[in-house]
């Protein structure tokens, strides 16, 4: 099957999957309920999500493990089940993926290093524990995502790199400032991200979440200004959520998202997928555009 990076380096543009969190909610996950516990209690529902993205034409799917570090799981009293829940997450996606790729999702811990919430060692150990579970369940790559702090991202990358044989990817989340620059919540720009994360061992970089695919084009252009070689992935939200009739909806349609795919490929993105609010419908349309280019 080879490696994702090898395919990218051969010049292929690949399609990733869409949202998991908002999809789980559609399937009945309640606020306050632990998403990762569904890997054990409702594996069929989780499998359905993975399978639906495969059917939409994705080359790779993520795992239901975004909040799978002990720091997130312990809020649900599940801090001692990190390995089990992450392994189960990867097994479900592995089963759905067949000969396609599985990206083991790793999200931020919610702890802030500079406030002394945690030490670097504690963060590293937590990420290591999660990554070992994902690898054991069959993940091909570790997808560290939605990062806002450079140090936390670096520690996650090192933990994945030094303890697993998986490919190691990392994306951060950027918003536009009032002055029109892209910055993460912690003030990191896309260009500041590049060298630090590559030095830490990331084999692919990019951006996820945020306010829709349009901003992603600008972010990819910034990354490409400082590095023309590193593979770049985007997982874009379906726009900024709006509140309608007692629920929040993401306004960007599959057609709207697909209409920007060519631009983002030209900007230099190698793998394109979705984040919050995107559906198999979005991925299907992205696939069509990528195949036609």
């Amino acid at each position: 099957m080879g490696r994702i990076i090898d395919l990218v380096n051969k010049g292929k543009t690949l399609v990733s999957d869409g949202a998991w969190g908002t999809f789980l909610q559609k399937k009945g996950l309640q606020p306050g309920e632990c998403p990762e516990l569904w890997n054990i209690t409702k594996p069929n529902e989780v499998f359905e999500i993975a399978r639906s993205y495969m059917e939409a034409g994705a080359d790779m799917i993520e795992t239901n493990s975004f909040g799978g570090t002990r720091f997130k799981l312990e809020k649900y009293g599940l801090g001692d089940r990190v390995f089990e829940l992450n392994k189960a997450a990867a097994e479900i996606s592995r089963k759905a993926a067949g000969n396609k790729f599985v990206l083991g999702s790793v999200g931020p811990t919610g702890k802030i290093l500079m406030m002394g919430d945690v030490t670097e060692e504690e963060l590293y150990d937590a990420f290591k524990e999660q990554c070992l579970g994902l690898e054991a369940g069959g993940a091909d790559a570790i997808m560290i995502e939605t990062m806002t702090d450079l140090d936390e991202a670096r520690l996650a990358i090192q933990a994945a790199k030094e303890n697993t044989k998986c490919e190691v990817f990392c994306t951060m989340t950027f918003e536009k400032t009032v002055a029109g620059e892209f910055r993460s919540m912690m003030g990191i720009s896309p260009t500041e991200m590049v060298n630090t994360l590559i030095d830490a061992g990331a084999e692919l970089l990019g951006a996820n979440c945020g306010n829709g695919i349009e901003n992603m084009i600008g972010i990819v252009e910034e990354i490409r200004k400082v590095n023309s070689d590193i593979p770049v992935l985007v997982h874009a939200n379906a726009g900024m959520p709006i509140y309608q009739d007692g629920e929040t909806v993401f306004p960007e349609t599959p057609e709207e998202m697909a209409s920007r795919v060519k631009e983002i490929m030209v900007a230099g993105a190698n793998i394109i997928g979705g984040c919050c609010g995107t559906t198999p419908g979005h991925i299907c349309k992205v696939r069509e555009v990528v195949d036609s280019e």
């Binding site: 908002t22 909610q25 309640q30 606020p31 306050g32 997130k72 809020k75 919610g110 802030i112 500079m114 406030m115 806002t148 400032t177 009032v178 002055a179 620059e181 910055r183 993460s184 919540m185 912690m186 003030g187 959520p241 709006i242 509140y243 007692g246 629920e247 929040t248 993401f250 919050c276």
Partner: protein, 222 residues
Amino acid sequence: MSELLSKIAECIEFGKINKAAPYPPQMKGQDGADELTRQALDEGIHAQDILSKSLMIGMEKVGIKFRENKVFVPQVLMSAKAMNTAMVHLKPFFLSGEVKQKGKFIIGTVEGDLHDIGKNLVSMMVEGNGWEVIDLGTDVKADQFVAAVKEHENAFVGLSALLTTTMVNMEKITKAIKEAVPGAKVAVGGAPVTNDFCKKIGADAYSPDPQGLVEYLNAQVA
């Protein structure tokens, strides 16, 4: 006296905690909020003046810079740390009643939501601007907010949410608070929250940044 107060304000604005703190680099080796606040009290400066003429000034400056995206979360957290260090020295004067706070502010992340970074930022900014903050934590249910509003008369309430799925709980909580205590004022905030949403659910105030909330609160007691 005014020179010392403006030095403390500067420590708050730039997040200089104490002499030993390496951050910010340009203030390395200088006295920080810790030493200077102690010194001010020793020189007989009133605790009230230290609060309103330096801590609040420094917090306001960093709040405005944060709103303008000139600084980001780490800088605000360092400022809040510096402020907390100064507050330790002022605590006895709060307890004795010599220093008067502007009012009470109850804050919590709403039911179903376990995220606390935004809530903590707001909490620190509001406290640094002279308010007593009652922090109910995360995953706070409507009846917990109602109980707090009943216990703390005339307190303002702030609801925080990060997730699009939990922000909908703000509507239920706002209604419960207003039913239990008519006239209670509820402010809402968090990444997915908008002014439009605030109006739709019948809340009283929304701000995309902590400073906007501080300004709203201050205007209510002006």
